[in-house]
């Protein structure tokens, strides 16, 4: 699909001939385009624009979610967020999870995509489908099943480890503070790898076959073709994948909520589970919607700063390398 170009060369050329007005049902009329766009614009205003603005607004109030926020506290919520050790634990865990995805999942998916893109590999479409399967499974369902599979009390994974003699006592994958986050990251990698693989495959298939032929004729081996032909051409796809991985991992919620609820202690607590707990679970205290909104805004802002600094330093590094 040639999407980007098609959208932008539209103006004028696709206009139907202007004809005499026959009311608003006329395909040449001026009114119906607005009616056709209106439902989408309403959804946008209600569920995209308003929530974005409202989070900022709510963050300025001490508000329990009932009625309209009235107790204005200025930036007090933000100061509280910045001083809450639990917030910073969740902050650290979210970025550790994200780092795991960027450092392990993204390259692993690329390796798999390169292998499954080989035209000589029989059954490559079947392999792709099967490696993709975890993506289409309901995350909450997978989370429950993983807790059972990894259970230290008779779970199949521990049974296998015990029987093969690899461990002498069952491993408490999700219940031990030191192991819980790496386990969650590993499951996150397994669950989402297929999507990243599909994106890499889409990128690989846009590399013209003649380039490979030319490189082969010049005597390049597989590793050299990958390094000097494929990877440089994948740059735009790589940036898309990194951006999407950032968005997905910084928002991770279901897997953590279902498997550990952020525990043990708060060893796996991430920002989304932290916000959910503060805003919606009211067992011991009143819901703190204003504070939770502030935590979300604060996290969004810090992420923006981190990503910008990364981006600028990568660009500066690239410049100085070229300058040498």
């Amino acid at each position: 699909m040639r999407i980007g170009t098609a959208v932008h060369r539209l103006e004028g050329s696709q206009l139907a001939p202007r004809r005499a007005r026959r009311g608003w049902l006329d395909p040449g009329g001026d009114v119906w385009p607005y009616l056709f766009v209106a439902p989408m614009v309403l959804l946008f205003l209600g569920f995209k624009l308003w929530p974005t603005l409202a989070t900022w607004y709510f963050a300025l109030f001490d508000w329990n979610g009932i009625g309209w926020p009235s107790e204005f506290v200025g930036l007090d919520n933000f100061l509280q967020v910045a001083r809450a050790p639990l917030f910073w634990d969740a902050f650290r865990n979210t970025w550790l999870y994200t780092a795991g995805m960027l450092v392990v999942q993204v390259p692993l998916a690329l390796m798999l995509a390169v292998v499954l893109n080989r035209p000589t590999l029989r059954g490559r479409v079947i392999y792709r489908t099967l490696f993709f399967l975890p993506v289409v499974a309901t995350t909450a369902v997978i989370g429950v099943v993983m807790v059972i599979l990894l259970s230290p009390a008779g779970g199949p994974v521990n049974n296998l480890l015990l029987e093969s003699g690899l461990v002498r006592r069952p491993v408490n994958f999700l219940g031990a503070a030191s192991l819980a986050l790496p386990t969650v990251v590993a499951i996150g990698i397994w669950k989402g790898l297929g999507t990243v693989m599909i994106y890499w495959l889409a990128g690989l298939q846009s590399v013209p076959g003649e380039l490979y032929d030319a490189a082969r004729i010049d005597g390049a081996n597989s590793a050299q073709v990958l390094r000097f032909v494929t990877l440089p051409l994948l740059r735009p796809v790589a940036l898309t994948i990194i951006a999407l991985t950032l968005v997905w991992s910084l928002n991770v919620f279901e897997l953590v909520q279902v498997m550990t609820s952020g525990g043990p202690g708060n060893a796996t607590d991430v920002i989304a589970t932290y916000i959910y707990r503060v805003a919606f679970t009211v067992e011991d205290t009143v819901p703190r919607m204003g504070y939770a909104s502030a935590a979300g805004v604060f996290f969004g802002l810090t992420n923006l700063v981190i990503v910008l600094v990364q981006f600028l330093s990568v660009r500066a590094a690239g410049r100085s390398r070229r300058g040498l």
Binding site: L15, M40, T55, T138, V145, G209
Partner: protein, 290 residues
């Protein structure tokens, strides 16, 4: 997804690649897949196991004495009949609404340069990059104010609002790429705008309709955060993901019952994916490029 034709090089590569290494690659991939897909095999096998077999034969993949007890328990006692029905209603309704909203908007945006079109396009485009991951509180608040908290209508509305921008772009691009002669011929025949849209243009957009439908179907069938927060006080309005979480909280040790519930949740979505995966892959690839 299409594969670039590599012509001659295929044959040359085939001769260059020694056979043993290709067999080794297949063996490696198959071994990896066994571990990769083990959770699915476990779910399916365990859902037919009698409860005592989980501990007496923990590593057996298939039951010695298959039973449907677990399914009956999950379906009736754990309310998965209700969760299943709710999920079907929410998924179908949301998918239809999103299809209608994005196809209509995409048609207008793709075929007419009306005043304000450029503004709509750039605001939509910019909002993709807007950080808005933690907007569940205002969404919950809005649904609550509309009096739709703890109703399926509320879940459908919030779910429809969660993802439609990329789909709108997919329809816009597709409609913009259709030749103008098709539309002109119909207009000469004197059709009105709805006839033009439903009878002429929409049938032509079948590939995009299919891609958007399957992407949205999978998205909503598997959704969790929105239905969870919007049905906190209404257990009878839960969808499968939320129901699974609740079932796990109540009877976390009923492993065979949970496996049966997992099978009930996963079979429809896996079947839909396998039968329509061509459109799915095209949709994902299209979404990347746009």
């Amino acid at each position: 997804m299409t594969f670039p034709s590599v012509g001659l090089s295929v044959h040359r590569l085939r001769r260059l690649a020694p056979r043993p290494s290709r067999t080794a690659l297949h063996l490696f991939l198959i071994a990896a897949l066994v571990a990769w897909l083990y959770p699915f095999v476990w779910i399916f096998g365990t859902s037919f196991k009698p409860q005592e077999e989980v501990f007496s034969r923990p590593l057996a993949l298939l039951p010695a004495a298959p039973t449907l007890e677990n399914f009956i328990r999950a379906w009736d006692k754990a309310n998965f009949s209700t969760y299943f029905l709710n999920t079907v209603i929410v998924t179908v309704a949301t998918t239809l609404i999103v299809l209608a909203v994005t196809a209509l908007a995409g048609f207008a945006l793709g075929r007419r340069a009306f005043r304000g079109r450029a503004a709509v396009m750039s605001i939509l485009g910019a909002s993709i990059f807007l950080p808005q991951g933690y907007t569940i509180i205002p969404v919950y608040d809005l649904i609550n104010r509309l009096g739709l908290n703890n109703t399926l209508v509320g879940v459908v509305l919030a779910s429809a609002g969660a993802g439609f921008i990329i789909y709108t772009f997919m329809f816009t691009a597709y409609f913009a790429g259709l030749p103008r002669e098709i539309e002109e011929a119909a207009v000469v025949d004197g059709v009105n705008i709805f006839q033009l849209f439903f009878q002429v243009m929409l049938p032509l957009a079948r590939p995009v309709l299919a891609s958007v439908a399957i992407l949205e179907f999978l998205q909503i069938w598997n959704s969790f955060l929105i239905p969870l927060t919007l049905t906190l006080a209404a257990p009878e309005k839960r969808v499968l993901g939320v129901g699974m979480y609740a079932f796990f909280g109540q009877s976390g040790l009923d492993w065979t019952g949970l496996a049966a519930a997992a099978t009930i949740s996963l079979v429809p979505v896996v079947l839909v994916f396998l039968s329509l995966q061509r459109y799915f892959v095209e949709g994902v690839a299209g979404a990347v490029k746009s």
